[in-house]
Structures are given as structure tokens and as C-alpha cells.
Amino acid sequence: MSFPDLLRTAFSNLRRRKLRNSLTILAVVIGAGLVSLLVSLGIGVQGFLSDQVRSILPSDVVMVASNPDVFQIGLGGLGFAGKPQQISGNQTGGSSTLQPLSLQEIQEVQGLKHVEQVDPFIILQADSVRLQGSQQRFRTDIRPQPEYQVKMVNLVAGKYITDQTHGECIIANQYLDVFGFTSPQEALGKEVIIQVTQAASLIGLPADTKEYSFTIVGVTEKTLSSTEIIVSLTDGEEMSRFWANTPDLYTNKIPAAILQVRVDGSQYADQVASEVKDLGLGEITSSDVLGIIGTIFGIVQAILSAFGLIALGVASLSIVNTLIMSVYERTREIGVMKAVGASKGTIRILFTAEGAAIGFLGGAIGVAIAYVLGFVIDRVSRATFLKDFQTFNISVFPWWLIVGVIALTTIIAVLASLYPAHRAAGLDPIESLRYE
């Protein structure tokens, strides 16, 4: 029997018992739809979170710290359930304390291949931000960023700041509402006052407070960083020196404890990171963080997909049932086919093909329905609770998910049809021809 004939026969036989076969296919559709929808939502949310991570830690950036332990992530590093971690190096201090990097260390990092730009990572905590002329103060996170990183954020209004910028800032979209602006354009050119109290206050020591004035020149699109205010590195350093009460911070006398190292291509980030590690320094890249997110999502998706897989397992029983019924009903037909020249192998492959057709149709319809549902969920959520995250695709269907789910249901169906096909092939032709 030729392959086109096999397909033709398999699909035309499905049409013979429409209701029964439709119900069996429906069972596959439910399983395939569940698996593909849940995985697609997982991919969408993970993609969104990954984008957020990349906006904070770009993929071509390696963070470098004086302490090799400080970026250790994991259960042990968090002191939670893991083995107590050994403190690396011979320096004083623990796993989370930092000391300024030495000039020599900074030079070594600068000298590494593929390192393009080295900036201090500015540490700073601001008390509040308020609009000039208003007494309402709001929480804020000041993000001093180099120019290349600033440009990775999408703006809904205004312009980017450069490394030379002084006294200008970009505010997070969420501030528009609390500041009482009705449009992003309205915020441009307005002054905000950022208040900084020295770090000593964190442990109850006497400390000074200072106010810095910035002009809003840009507004970001809505991201998860809802309280960020982006300033230039120069402005950040100035505020940080006051906050730390250390006028020589970020100079050759007291260099930064953390560096933000940009490499000339994200593919080199991990390579540079491992060289940094060899220098005895701490390092972290976006792929480390994304790896952790990926692991967590992998587990969540596996758990969610299990429900779909259970449905597919039940569907496979239904396929077995359907095909066994079909073998009974068509016993005489099988006898005739054998009498006119069908071998056992042909009969076996014919019933296997019918099972495969059920799996294929169920998978294809299931994925198609999940695709439409995903699209609807996407639209509905963006029209409602995700209104401000227009770039967030909550349901994403890469080609491999579509192909993979259809292949999965087809394979499951083929496995389910092995026994009925074996039974059909083994029927005695003479008895089958007598079967009433």
C-alpha cells in the first residue's frame, strides 16, 4: 500500500464513525490545547521577565565586584536550606561585604580581551522624590546609568540623557499618575526634587540630608521598574559621594567596589566573566540571572503541562478503545482486504495510520484553538490589567511549540494504536470472512 493511499484510507475511515471519532479527537484536542496554551503562556511571561532583567542587566554587560562571593546566587548563597558556604579568598570580610577594588584590579579588568567600557556601579539610596512646588513625596530608586544602557529603555516621551548630561533625568512611567500628569509630554521640562539622607542614618547615626534638583527630559514606557529615575553617571557619583559621606569615592583614592563592564558583543559576556573570575573577583552576567529564571519557569511549566499530559494520557486510552471497536466492526472488511492481497503488515500499518490521524488532527486542532485562546487572552489582558505593558505578549507560540505538540500527540496516538493494530493484523482471514 502506498503512502498516499495509506493517508487517504486512514482519513476516510475516520469519517465513517463521525461521532465516535470526533469525541476521541476531542479528547486529544483538550490535552494538546492545554499543553500548548500553558507552555505558550509560560514562554510569554518568561520572555517578559527576561526583557525586564535585560533592561537592568544588559546581555553585553558583566558586573564585577571585589568580593568573589557577593554575586553567588542559589540556596546556599542565600543561607537557606543549602550547605553553609565557604568564604573564598583570604581577605577580611564576609560573603556579602564589599571593599573598593584596587587600581590594579581595575586595570586588569580593563585589559581583558573584548572589554569595551568600564564604569563604576554607583550605589546610592535616595529618600524620596517630589515634584517642584509640591509637598507630596514618593519612594524612588535612583539608577545612575551609562549612556548605552539608558538607550535600551523605550521612552514614551522626551529624549535620552548622555554621559555628559547634568541635572536631567528620565522618570518611570508610573510617576506620571502620582505627579498628576495626564500625558507624558506634560511632564517634560518639569523639575523634581530628589532628597538624599546619608547612609549613616540607616543604622541610626547622625546624618545630613540634601536635596538635588533634576529636570524631567524623558518618560519611560511602563516596565516593572515602577520607581526608577534614571540619571547620568556623573550626577549619580555626586549623590553617591554625599550619601556615603566619602568625597573621594569613585576616584583613584577610593575606586568603586563594583564595576559595570561592557563587552563588545553579548556572546563574549560569559567568556569575560570567567576571566574575571580567574582574577579572583566576583562576577555576574544576565545569562546567570536568566538561567535562574529559566530553571524556575521550566519547573512551573512542567507542573502545568502535567495536567495537559494527564489529559493526553486519558485521550490515548480513548484512542485504544476507539480502534479496538473499529477492529471488531471491520473484522469482515479486514478479511476481505487480506483475501485480496493485504499482508499482516499492511493491516497493521493501516490501523496505526488511523491512530496517527486521530493524534495528528487532535494535536493540530488543539494547537489552533490554544493559539486563538492565547490571542484572545493577550488582547483581553492588554485591554485591561496589562494596559500599560503594550509590548508584553502574554501568549507566545514559537514554531517549535506548534510542531512539537502535534508531533507529541501523533506519537502518543501511534503508541496507543499499536495494540489494536496488532490485533487486526493477527485476525484469521477465513474466520474474519465468516464473521457476522
Partner: protein, 214 residues
């Protein structure tokens, strides 16, 4: 009660020449159908050899036997065994599917076979839309479609009225004469049996009498 071995056939020694018309008569359970099924490659003897056209069927594999049934044998059944969901053409074309004849060529060959049996104008009819005699003609066309050497007919007229019976017998005799097809006919009907070149009587799995036509 234990299982009992019943010899459906025992000590049969039979040679049939090409183009011969042999009829087999005998009471129910005498082994007529078993003999036909063994010659047709649907059943295998537990002992002994069966050689058709130089091929020893008792040693053939399943795929060799199915190819043999497909190419060399045409079965005609008492109950026609037509597929009710297929029309006449599709029923006749079924052996061609397993012979891997391309789709386009199949309907042409099947149509010719239907014309041979006088049903050229019934190709699109389903079995339920045909009379008993016409259904058996479709069955015969299906048996002919792969140009077999041997036609095995097991009570082909058992379900037909006398008029249809006559015409089916005429058709079979004609195919035997004009196409040189070897024809083996199992029947209860002595009238039909007598039209054969040779008539075999069977009883308890043995051939008890063999009569040549004068």
C-alpha cells in the same frame, strides 16, 4: 472434554491444469471450502505441500502469500463481501490498492473489469443500490481486476435466485473459456457443477470421486 484434532483435509492428492474448470461438490463440512482456502493461500496445510504455478505455498511467508493472493488468485464469495461504504468502482479497485497501482490508473482498470462483467453503467452505485446478481458481478470484477491465473468461487450463486444464478454461471464459464482462467467452483448445485470439465466429490476431507465431463 479435551481438544480434538479434526482433519479437514486428509490424503488429498490433486493436480489441476491451467485453464481447467473444476467443480467441487459434497456435503457441508466435507472440506470443500478448506481445500479452496488452501489453494487460495488463506489457509496453510499442517502437513503436505501445495504448489501453485511452481510456488510452494506451504513454505511461503505472510507477505509472499498476500502477494500471491493479490496477483494470482481471485476470490468470489457467496456473500459477495463488498464494502458497503464504497461504490462498485472502489470495491473493484481494492486489490489494486494493495498491488500499489497508482491512484489515477486504478479507476481505469477497475472500470474495464466492471465492463467485462457487464456493469459499465453501474460504476458509481453502492452495493445497496444493486441487485444480488449485480453485486456478485462486482465481486467477480474485483476478483478479475489484477488479472489472476486462478478464480476461486465458493458457492458464488448460493445467495441468488435461479435467473441470476444462470447468468453468473454463464459469466464464469465464459471467463474460463475466453480468458483461459483456471476456475475452481465449490457448489451445492449439481446443475452448475456438471458444467465443469471435471467434478470432484468430497466427503470427510477426502476426494471420493472424480468425474470428467464426457
Amino acid at each position: 472434554m479435551g481438544e480434538e484434532t479434526i482433519n479437514a483435509l486428509a490424503g488429498i492428492n490433486l493436480e489441476i491444469g491451467q485453464g481447467e474448470f473444476v467443480s467441487i461438490v459434497g456435503p457441508s463440512g466435507s472440506g470443500k471450502s478448506t481445500l479452496l482456502n488452501i489453494i487460495g493461500g488463506l489457509d496453510s496445510p499442517t502437513k503436505g505441500n501445495i504448489i501453485v504455478d511452481g510456488q510452494d505455498l506451504s513454505k511461503a511467508s505472510d507477505s509472499e502469500l498476500s502477494s500471491y493472493r493479490n496477483k494470482k488468485i481471485g476470490f468470489v464469495f457467496q456473500t459477495f463481501n463488498l464494502q458497503p461504504t464504497y461504490n462498485a468502482l472502489e470495491n473493484v479497485a481494492l486489490p489494486l490498492v494493495f498491488a500499489r497501482v497508482p491512484f489515477g490508473k486504478r479507476s481505469q482498470i477497475a472500470k474495464e473489469a466492471l465492463e467485462t462483467v457487464g456493469l459499465g453503467d453501474r460504476v458509481r452505485h453502492k452495493p445497496s443500490e444493486l441487485s444480488g446478481g449485480e453485486r456478485q458481478r462486482v465481486g467477480i470484477a474485483r476478483a478479475l481486476v489484477n488479472n489472476p491465473k486462478i478464480l476461486l468461487a465458493d458457492e458464488p450463486t448460493g445467495n441468488l435466485d435461479s435467473k441470476a444464478r444462470e447468468r453468473i454461471m454463464e459469466l464464469l464459464a465464459e471467463l474460463n473459456k475466453e480468458r483461459g482462467l483456471t476456475l475452481l467452483l465449490v457448489t451445492h448445485d449439481l446443475e452448475s457443477a456438471k458444467s465443469a470439465d471435471r467434478m470432484l466429490h468430497m466427503r470427510d476431507g477426502q476426494i471420493t470421486e472424480s468425474a470428467e465431463r464426457k
